[in-house]
């Protein structure tokens, strides 16, 4: 039974969808897909306990993608009327070759409707409720220390409603609610400023703030980080052991390895992990997974943006490369099946292979022992962001909260540290993997735009890594 509410939202019926797909195939494309999106979001920003700005946005439009072998063309438009959709389809078709007759015949669409269980939908929540949650965070940051000179809270909720039709018979509707609260504290003293942050998010309704996301707890983490870093000396520079804490520390794996396992890189021979399936790429203690099925998680998806089902993709098992993240186009390039990993920010992007919830699995090492036996080095408690060149595997990322370790004991917080290296080398140098894995939310940018992803890991140790900082070279 087609979902009438969804159909009405886009004012499209199966007949129109069929006509659009056929138009898109006029120049000989062997696959065509129509993606429709209607996303409503609310963003509110609060500075020092006062609401500074509030914005509502509604993004809507449609995109048509065609494939001919491994050639790909995408056209999109903010206009979702039937004539505009047909025109968009013609634009995509024109990129592949000259228009011929549209193929005949029916496509048997089989309707699948996905929703995310929500007990408090965002359109039933007023701004007063949102602001009340934000105020808890702002207050908790300020209360933490008088050195917190500024508390910033950014709130987002959005519902992305999509429909997808393809010549494979895919006919999918999905509703994707997400919310995130980003807490940032600035501590200032004597002309110096340091920041701390925390940004939990999930794929649920507003109920997440009563049951799941502890705003005050996250606010205290942000404030403590800023104050600790304000009193921290600059991080020394050199090559030494590094312990990276769990949770957002998983950004190392995301950058150093995850991106290089995406078909976007592997399928075009731009990855250090090409042709390495079933070979050893990491030390024995490393297993890693990308799992889009975890209920309510920030990086989870009900269905991917080609109509594929998400799953738990084993990437590395005891150091052996077991799988890649593959979309339809990547599947054609690599001769391997899709892995339910096709994602896009919205209709202005063609989909491609992306991560969901990506993490290093829990291991068996003791979290305290790995610091006690590291000698001198860096304990990176909270990571900042980073990036990677997939062709070389070289990555860099910043350490938001770091501690210097000497003789196996923490001696001082340190600020301004950066970690750089090569993914393939770092994976081989992981010599400890802790017992407790957790994840944290982030936004990942790539060819198909910014998508929500979780990164995660237990606490791990890397035997040797380049640490950048301006505290001078280590003696």
């Amino acid at each position: 039974m087609p979902d009438q509410k969804q159909l009405n939202l886009f004012r499209i019926d199966e007949g129109t969808a069929l006509a659009v797909l056929r138009e898109a195939q006029r120049s000989g494309a062997d696959y065509a897909e129509l993606f429709l999106e209607d996303t409503e979001s609310t963003r509110i920003e609060m500075i020092d306990g006062k609401v500074e700005s509030a914005n509502y946005t509604r993004i809507c439009g449609a995109g048509v993608r065609v494939l001919l072998g491994t050639q790909c063309a995408y056209a999109y438009s903010a206009d979702t009327g039937k004539q505009a959709l047909l025109k968009t389809a013609r634009a995509a078709a024109a990129a592949i070759g000259e228009a011929k007759h549209a193929p005949n015949g029916e496509i048997a669409f089989s309707m699948q409707r996905f929703t995310t269980p929500v007990s408090q939908p965002f359109d039933e929540v007023g701004n007063a409720d949102r602001v009340a949650v934000m105020r808890l965070g702002a207050r908790a940051m300020k209360d933490e220390s008088p050195e917190v000179t500024q508390a910033m809270v950014r709130y987002l909720d959005s519902v992305q409603r999509v429909m997808l039709f393809s010549t494979d018979g895919v006919f999918v509707s999905d509703e994707r609610p997400r919310t995130r609260i980003f807490l940032q504290a600035v501590a200032m003293k004597n002309g110096e400023a340091q920041t701390g942050f925390s940004g939990p998010g999930c794929c649920r309704g507003f109920e997440a703030y009563h049951n799941g996301i502890d705003v005050e707890q996250n606010a205290r983490i942000a404030a403590k980080m800023a104050v600790t870093m304000l009193h921290a000396p600059e991080c020394p520079a050199g090559r030494l052991p590094v312990v990276i804490d769990g949770g957002f520390g998983g950004v190392i794996f995301h950058e150093a390895c995850g991106h290089s396992l995406e078909a976007t890189a592997v399928g075009r021979n731009n990855s250090v992990f090409c042709e390495k399936l079933n070979t050893k790429i990491a030390s024995d203690c490393v297993s890693a997974v990308d799992d889009g099925t975890m209920p309510g998680e920030w990086g989870s998806i009900n269905v991917d943006d080609e109509g594929g089902m998400p799953r738990r993709n084993l990437l590395i098992e005891n150091g052996i490369l077991k799988g890649y993240l593959i979309d339809k186009l990547g599947s054609r390039r690599m001769n391997l099946p899709s892995t339910g990993s096709s994602r896009r920010q919205g209709y202005t992007f063609a989909p491609t292979s992306r991560m969901t919830n990506t993490f290093i699995c829990a291991g068996s090492d003791d979290e305290d022992e790995m610091i006690a036996t590291m000698g001198e080095g860096l304990f990176a408690k909270m990571m900042g962001g980073g990036s990677v060149n997939p062709a070389t595997g070289e990555f860099n990322f910043s350490v938001a909260e770091g501690y210097w370790v000497k003789n196996g004991a923490i001696v001082s917080p340190v600020r301004g540290a950066t970690l750089i290296g090569k993914g393939s080398e770092v994976l081989q140098r992981i010599d400890r993997v802790g017992k407790t894995m957790w994840m944290e939310a982030g936004m990942c940018g790539s060819l198909s735009g910014a998508v929500p992803t979780n990164v995660g890991q237990p606490r791990i140790r890397i035997s040797c890594m380049t640490i950048g900082g301006k505290g001078g070279a280590i003696e």
Partner: protein, 443 residues
């Protein structure tokens, strides 16, 4: 519903609902992007987009709402009023009144007059030029051409009406070269009127990649550094939020209250030039007429960048730096074209002046390794080692760390080799810059 009907209906409705003023920001555009891989088109995208944002002033507060469905103006205005009602900040946010603008001529970019099929042929040729340039070029990781054109209409109930159209073109290539087991990538782009210069782009990209072969870290320590133009543009872009009066007023900029003080070396003059031919514009995101001004002159901070809100708060005139990141975004502040004034030294002279030190050609991790509030940065970098004024060997896998405010004070010479880049979507221009000291992490 046509857009003019929508606009009139929205402003009428806002007035009926008790808004003191209302403003509509409409943007539409078309874009074209193609990427070539092994002689085929492997990514191709064309689009038509449009959207409108309404901003209302309601009981002394402002609220925003944006939509791409030009169909229900009342619902949009209701959302904006709803948002205005939850604002607690006491800052006044005036809207601009009717203005006259100077005529700005922006030359068409190179890909405007070229058909789509010719643009496709162009990137395929760019790829083959890269591949043919040297036997060590194995593939071209990215090889793209992008063209975009758009219109903006800004109007409000105070009589403001401003319109502009623009188009832009860019081509870029990222070849990957291999020697033995070692793989390196290079990058080059051409934009605006130069976006059809395939030979120059391919040659520069391949030379960039080949130059990195054999690169290795240097010993950790403090080095004198020559920052090449693109690296300096990256730093200017990353730390441009420091010059925002909004950040200063919120206590998030170390430059707050520093107007009139020496904040950089006497050699440093930094322009905000909205009329630079690379991207000239007559008005800013609020409809305020743009003007050229020195932000830093001979090391002295002359002004921060203002929009109407921060100017009202500071009791000054807006500098014409209100920005809308997109039609969906709220009004912020950004530079127009930020240009660091050139010096007189040639690049060769700067290398001799550097004597022993590092030449940094490339920075990575700009979205993560900079703290615009503290000014600290720690970034992955690549370039060359200079000894006794001679370039010795490529350097890779190092980080450079420092503080932007300190760096601006530590500038000892500027080159005459100005280059323009578009880091983070803005326009930045800088020459090579010689810096007294940065901390390097290598071996």
């Amino acid at each position: 519903m046509t857009y003019p009907e929508f606009a009139k209906s929205a402003m009428d409705y806002a007035k009926r609902k008790g808004c003191d003023s209302s403003e509509l920001f409409y943007a539409d555009g078309e874009s074209f992007e193609v990427n070539a891989n092994e002689g085929e088109i492997d990514r191709y995208s064309v689009s038509r987009e449009s959207g409108v944002s309404v901003r209302v002033s309601y009981r002394g507060h402002e609220g925003y709402a944006y939509t791409e469905a030009i169909e229900d103006p009342q619902r949009l205005v209701d959302h904006a009023i709803d948002n205005a009602a939850c604002i607690e900040s006491e800052d006044e946010r005036p809207m601009q009144t009717k203005q006259t603008y100077q005529t700005v001529l922006r030359e068409d970019s190179a890909l405007k007059q070229i058909s789509e099929s010719d643009r496709i042929a162009l990137v395929k040729r760019l790829e083959s030029l890269c591949l043919a340039a040297d036997a060590r070029v194995k593939r071209v990781v990215y090889c793209s051409a992008e063209y975009g054109a758009g219109n903006v209409v800004l109007e409000n109930s105070l009589g403001l009406c401003a319109q502009k159209s623009s188009n832009h073109s860019i081509i870029y290539a990222m070849p990957s070269v291999q020697e033995g087991e070692e793989v390196q990538t290079g990058f080059a782009f051409r934009m605006g009127r130069d976006a059809a210069d395939l030979e120059g782009c391919a040659k520069e990209a391949v030379a960039d990649a080949l130059g990195k072969l054999g690169g290795k870290p240097v010993d950790s320590g403090n080095y004198r550094v020559l920052l090449k133009p693109y690296a300096m543009c990256d730093l200017l872009a990353a730390f441009s939020p420091m010059f925002s009066a909004d950040n200063a007023q919120k206590g998030c900029s170390l430059l707050a209250g520093k107007e009139g003080l020496q904040i950089a070396s006497k050699l440093v003059t930094l322009w905000d030039d909205p009329f630079d031919p690379i991207a000239p514009r007559a008005f800013d995101g609020e409809g305020t007429p743009c003007r050229k001004k020195a932000v830093i002159e001979n090391g002295e901070l002359k002004t921060l960048l203002h929009n109407l809100k921060t100017a009202r708060k500071a009791g000054v005139e807006s500098t014409g730096n209100a920005s809308r990141g997109s039609a969906a975004a709220t009004v912020g502040i950004s530079p127009t074209v930020f240009r660091l004034e050139t010096g007189s030294a040639s690049c060769e002279n700067l290398v001799s002046e550097l004597c022993d030190g590092l030449i940094i050609t490339e920075l990575e991790g700009l979205h993560a390794g900079v703290d615009e509030i503290s000014g600290d940065f720690s970034l992955k970098a690549a370039g060359f080692l200079a000894e006794s004024g001679v370039v010795r060997r490529p350097v890779s896998n190092i980080t450079i760390a420092g503080n932007f405010v300190t760096l601006m004070k530590d500038i000892t010479a500027l080159g005459n080799d100005l280059r323009v880049a578009m880091p983070q979507g803005g326009y930045y221009a800088a020459p090579s810059v010689l810096v007294r000291r940065l901390t390097v992490a290598g071996i």
